[in-house]
Symmetry: C2
DNA sequence: TCGAATGGTTTCATATTGCTACCAATGGAG
DNA sequence: CTCCATTGGTAGCAATATGAAACCATTCGA
């Protein structure tokens, strides 16, 4: 596993963490594979059936995610077929998946259109994720800025 | 603008907000365009120079983002060339961009590798975004679940 | 032990991306 | 007003990525 080497051809923007994350998981399928892994999918067939993805593309994406340290394969005791599971880095994408989910809920559904819902342990809806500054006040693109490194 | 119609061929997974968001902005470039728009980019040339993206692809992505209500064009007084700006829905992707950025900072850089940093108004580093349940306790994939709709 | 399910690989067609050249419409300098 | 560089694209073509279908070795359950 190698979590700090870019795709073939190098990073899109080597100093920007957003660009690096997009390079690693920002394609049509990777984040949905990760979403399903968080929802319990673990076998090749699990992912294929849930996603309707082409087999060769799934092979490639699973391999990439393993190579980049987002997924790992493990062999259950007894020499069974191996399963895919999220690494710690993969689990840590939970925040990103929640952010994508909440934006979709707010902006990609008509008011009367049903969609799946994320619930906490007690069956309550998960509150909205809000970036805050050190003073605790909600932050937006206009009240923050990026300091580039040299 | 039409924020609730999918890409050609329909949605990847019509009931999942994560999938819808990925359908709209989950390609190699869209989120980086949005990142740069949040950082002040507004003209075709701004985006092209910052991203090094092919001109025809940039044309296509800007058009898609406008069509889906993430960006809008406005013409400054005096009949100048138009500029691209984020809509409210586009601004609302700030949380997602922050989540991608923070994951990248944690997992896609070696310890000694420099990267750009997001600062709040007062110049302080932005604290980590943490999804929480209704009881306020940090949430993870294992302490939450998705309720699918019928 | 046999047959079905699993987890792929290969091949080929199609779609997407990117490079380069081209072009019409600003818009600033003189 | 008249140039001429810049801006904001298009058009055409080559390279790359994606997807559908066929094929195949291994594993697992009956």
């Amino acid at each position: 596993m190698d979590v700090v080497s870019g795709p073939a051809g190098g990073w899109t923007d080597p100093r920007c963490p957003v660009a690096r994350t997009v390079d690693l998981v920002g394609d049509r399928w990777s984040l949905l594979i990760i979403r399903d892994a968080m929802d319990g999918a673990s076998s090749f067939t699990d992912f294929r059936e849930r996603l309707g993805i082409a087999r060769n593309i799934l092979t490639d994406r699973l391999r990439r995610l393993v190579d980049h340290g987002v997924l790992a394969t493990s062999t259950p005791p007894g020499g069974k077929r191996h399963v895919y599971r999220l690494t710690d880095a993969g689990q840590d994408l939970f925040t990103t998946v929640v952010a994508l989910r909440q934006w979709g809920e707010r902006h990609a559904f008509a008011d009367d259109e049903p969609h799946s819902v994320l619930l906490d342990d007690n069956g309550g809806a998960v509150p909205e994720l809000v970036p805050r500054g050190q003073d605790g006040r909600p932050l937006s693109a206009t009240t923050s800025h990026v300091r580039k490194t040299t």
